[in-house]
């Protein structure tokens, strides 16, 4: 465990906790961008440059801004709902804590800690593009179809409903 990993991990966890607990929704999304940027830096530290930059482009650039737009359009800015947590928040927190306990127990009980770091391999963009165009070309096409369907679906859902004329 190195110092850069510790700094990035603390940054990401602080951003995540703030995104889930703050009262103002705009502040939540700002904390969320911090968390996404920390995750992108962790991806870069793992040697996955392409995924790191895609993370910044897609999450910090698109998803967070989309969430801000929706918050503005639904008048969610400002103080927001009065109790920010629902009435069964104790049960939800207990379930999440239980999930974390089980995952941490499974990770610590496994023999993964004996795994040594293999030598750094360069995951350049060229082999990724080659793999996408040859080995994974069918999933890529299906993904394009899915993104088109999602685009049309989102537009249809958010479109102004026309008043029906008899």
């Amino acid at each position: 465990m190195t110092v850069p990993f510790l700094i990035l991990a603390v940054l990401t966890v602080v951003g995540t906790v703030a995104a889930m607990t703050l009262r103002n929704l705009i502040h939540c999304v700002l904390a969320l961008t911090l968390s996404f940027a920390g995750l992108a830096a962790l991806y870069l530290q793992l040697g996955a440059q392409f995924v790191g930059f895609v993370q910044i482009l897609v999450y910090v650039g698109a998803v967070a801004i989309l969430a801000v737009f929706v918050i503005m359009m639904t008048r969610g800015a400002g103080p927001g709902l009065h109790p920010i947590f629902s009435s069964f928040w104790t049960v939800g927190s207990l379930v999440a804590a239980g999930v974390f306990a089980i995952l941490a127990w499974a990770i610590c009980a496994s023999n993964l800690s004996s795994r040594i770091l293999p030598p750094q391999t360069e995951a350049a963009v060229r082999p990724i593009g080659d793999a996408l165009m040859h080995q994974y070309v069918l999933p890529l096409e299906i993904m394009g179809l899915l993104l088109t369907a999602a685009l049309i679906g989102a537009v249809v859902l958010a479109m102004q409903e026309k008043r029906r004329t008899p």
Binding site: M20, V58, L66
Partner: protein, 103 residues
């Protein structure tokens, strides 16, 4: 504690925080954001296992992460569209009042 274990523990922590947020917050937008955080934790797992796996040159973890990010982007767009449609209909984004499917 090896580095792979710490990456997996961090991913489990982010997943649990996202799950807690998705289960307990009342705003529908934050429920969706919690789901995004859970997907991001899964991506971190994919990349950590790719980096520490026996065949990093096969790029499987990276491919899975790229496709997972695209799915998450499509899910966010459709989810936020649904929230907008519900808001136009019921004038609220509070999930505890969304208890009927019929408009």
């Amino acid at each position: 504690m090896s580095s792979l274990t710490s990456y997996l523990l961090l991913s489990a922590l982010i997943f649990s925080i996202g799950l807690a947020g998705a289960l307990t917050r009342r705003s529908a937008i934050l429920v969706l954001i919690g789901i995004e955080l859970m997907l991001n934790a899964a991506n971190l797992n994919f990349l950590a296992f790719w980096r520490y796996g026996p065949h990093p040159e096969a790029l499987t973890g990276i491919m899975f992460a790229i496709f997972s990010i695209s799915i998450a982007a499509a899910e966010a767009a459709v989810g936020l569209g649904i929230i907008l449609a519900v808001y136009k209909h019921r004038r609220t984004t509070d999930v505890s009042t969304m208890n009927s499917m019929k408009g």
